[in-house]
C-alpha cells in the first residue's frame, strides 16, 4: 500500500514539474486518431478509384463485346454471300463441273451408311454472366459494406455460431 502511494505521488509530482507531458499525450492520441482516419480515407479512396477504373473497364468491354458481336455477324453474312448458291454454282462451272442428271448417277450400296441429317446448329450452351454472378464485394462501397454489417449484426453472429 505504501508502494502504491509512493508511485502515485511520484507521477503527480512529475507532472507538476512538466505539465506539457499531458498535452503531448493528448496531441499524440489526437494525431493517432487523425492517422487512423487518414489511413481509412486513403484505403477508401484507393478502393473507390479502383472500382471506378474497373467500372469504366466493364463499360468499355461491354461496348467492345457488342462491336465484336456485330463484326461477327458481318463476317458471317459475308461468308454466306461468298458461299451463296449462285456464287458456288458459278465457281463450279468455272472449274468445269456440270450439273449431274439422275441417269448419270451410279449408286453403290455401302453397308452401315446412313444419309446425312439436317444440320444441328446449336452448340453447347455457353456460360454467361448474370446479375447474381457478381458478388457484393465488387459492387458495394465501404459505406454500403459498413451499413450492411451494422444493420444486420445478428446474421454474422449466427454465421459465427454455425462455424
Amino acid at each position: 500500500m505504501q508502494n502504491v502511494n509512493y508511485t502515485v505521488n511520484y507521477f503527480v509530482h512529475a507532472y507538476r514539474q512538466a505539465p506539457w507531458r499531458i498535452q503531448r499525450q493528448w496531441i499524440g492520441a489526437f494525431l493517432l486518431g487523425v492517422l487512423g482516419l487518414a489511413m481509412v480515407a486513403a484505403l477508401y479512396l484507393d478502393v473507390t478509384a479502383q472500382a471506378a477504373i474497373y467500372g469504366r473497364s466493364i463499360q468499355d468491354m461491354s461496348a467492345e463485346m457488342i462491336a465484336i458481336q456485330h463484326n461477327s455477324a458481318d463476317l458471317q453474312t459475308k461468308l454466306a454471300e461468298l458461299t451463296s448458291s449462285s456464287v458456288m454454282e458459278q465457281r463450279a462451272q468455272t472449274l468445269g463441273y456440270l450439273p449431274v442428271d439422275s441417269s448419270q448417277m451410279d449408286y453403290v450400296i455401302v453397308p452401315g451408311y446412313s444419309a446425312p441429317k439436317p444440320s444441328i446448329l446449336a452448340s453447347v450452351p455457353s456460360l454467361t454472366p448474370s446479375a447474381a454472378s457478381i458478388p457484393p464485394e465488387y459492387t458495394q462501397s465501404l459505406i454500403d459494406w459498413l451499413d450492411q454489417h451494422l444493420r444486420a449484426p445478428s446474421a454474422n453472429i449466427l454465421i459465427g455460431v454455425a462455424q
Binding site: 472500382a51 455477324a73 461468308l79 454466306a80 454454282e89 450400296i109
Partner: protein, 582 residues
Amino acid sequence: MRQQYAWRSLVLAGLLGFVGLSIILQIVRIQNSPEAAIFRKQMAGYQTVLKTFYPERGEIYDRNGHLLAGNKTSYEVGVELKEAKDKHTIALVVGVQLGLNPDDLYNQMMNPPDGIEYLVLADFVDADKAAQLQQLKLTTDENTAPGQTSALAGLEFKAHPQRSYPEGSLASNLLGFVNREGRGYFGVEEKYNTLLAGNPIQVWVPTDPNKAVDIPRVPNGTTLVLTINRDLQAAVEQILDQSLTRYGAQSGTIVVMDPRTGEILALASSPRMDLNQFWNYGTVYQNASEFDRAISMPYEPGSVIKVLTVAAALDSGAATPTSSYLDTGEVEVGGWKIRNWDNQAWGQQDITGCLQHSLNICMAWLSNQMGAQTFYGYMNRFGLGHLTGVDLAGEAAGRLKVPGDTDWYPVDLATNAFGQGVSVTPIQLMMASSAVANDGRMVTPHVLYAMVRDGRQYNVPAQYAGSPISADTAHTLSQILAVSLENESSNALVSGYRIAGKTGTAQIPTDYGYEAGVTNASFIGWGPVDDPKFMIYVWLEKPSASIWGSETAAPVFEEVAQKTVVLLNIPPDNVRMQIAQH
C-alpha cells in the same frame, strides 16, 4: 506577451470554428430545406440513364445450315449542324461518296426542320462506303492546322444492325423481308416476327462508374432452321424461270414437299425480288397475294382435284377400282351440260380410264353417286375451304361452296368434282393429296424445321391433320394414278422411278364467265409410289405454248423430280429394292 498570443490563437480558432460550424449548419439547412427534394430529384436524374438494349434479330438457315437471312452493320450518316462550319464541303464529300445529290444535301443542311440540331443525311449506308467516308474525315481532321476547324467537322456516323439476305432473291417468296423499323413482312419473317425479333430490355444504367451494374444479357432473337433445301430451292427456281419462258406463262409456282412429314423442301413462285432491296416491293408486286402464290392465291385448279374426288368415291364405297360407266361425252346436271375436255365420248370406262383420260363426265358421275353430303364431307375433311395452317404469313383459305350457300347450285356438285367452281391454293391441294401419298394420313405443311435459342435446338415434329381416307384407299388410288400415268406415257414420268400424279387444265373465271383461250395448267405428283419421299406441285398461269397441263406442267414436274432425286439422294426403284434386300 505569451498571453497575447494565446488570445490571438483563441480568436482565430473561434473564427475558424464559427466558419466550420456555419458550413455544417448550412449543409444541414439545405438538406432539410423545401428545395432539397428538387435537388435530390435533379441528382437522381443525373445518376442513371435509361438504356434500351435491342437483341440481334434471329438468323434463318436452310436445313443444311446455309444462311438465308442474317444481320450486318450499316451506318447512318448525319451531321451536327452547330459543329458543321463548312456545309458545302460536307455536302460535296457525302454526295460524291454515297452517290447522292450534293445540292440536295446542302439545301437540307441549310434549311433544317425547326429545332433540329442533328440531321440524317443518309441511312443504311454499307459498311465499306461508311469506312471510306470515315477515313476521309480522319485524314481531313489530321491535315487541319491547329486552331482551325476541320472542313468535315460535325460529320457523324452511327452504326446499327440491318437485315441481310446473302442469297439475294433466293426463296424470297418464302422468307419475306424486314423493313427499316425491324418489322417482318410476308413469309417466315412475318409469321415468326416475334420469335426472330426477341425482346428488347430497358435498364437504368448508373452514370457513376463506382456503381457498376451488370449490363443485362439481352438474348438474341430465336434462330430458325427451315425445312428448305437451298440447292433444291435454287434448282426449282431456275426450272420455274426457264418454264415461264419456254411455255410463255404469265406466272408460275412450284412447291416440293415431303408427303410423309409435311416439310416443304422448296417453294418457288414468280415474280421474286431481291430481299436486300425490299423497298422495291411496290414495283414488283401489284398486290400482297402475288408475293407467294403457293399459299396466298386461290385458283380453280381443274383436274388435279380429281385425285380427291376419286379418293372420296373409293373410300365411301360409291365406287371401286373396277367400277365402270358409259361415257357418252355429255351429261346434264342442274340444267347445265357437262362435257369432257375434248367434247368426245369415251365409251365404257373404269376408274383408271377416268383418271388416265381425265374425264369430267366420270367425275360428275362419281359425285352424283356419292351425293352432295358425302362429297362435300370428304372435301371438307381434305381441308378445302380451310387454312392449312402452314407457318407462312398471308395464307388464303380458298372457297368451297357447299349446299346451303346462297351461291351454290346443283351443277356445282358436278363441276367441283373436276376442279371448276372451287378455288384452292397449291399448298391446300398438296396437304389434301398427302393423305393419298401417306397411307391415308394428311400432313400439315410447314417450313420450320427447328428453333435455336440459348444454345439449345428444338426440333419441330411433323403434325398430322387427320385421316380423311383409309390406308387401303390411299394405296389403291396411288396405284391407279401410277398406272394411269404409265398408260398415258405421260410427260411427267421419271426414268427409274415410279410416279403417281395427275394433270390439271382449268379455265379461268372472270366476272362475266370463263375467259376464252387461256388456262391454268397444273400437275401434282409424288414418288416413289411405294415409299413417297417427295411431292411436287406445278402451276403455270396462262401458258401460251399450249393450254394443256399435260404438255406444260407435266414436263416441268418431270424436270423438278429429276433434280429432286439427285439432290435428295433418292436412288432409283431398282437400287432401293436391292438395298431393302440387304
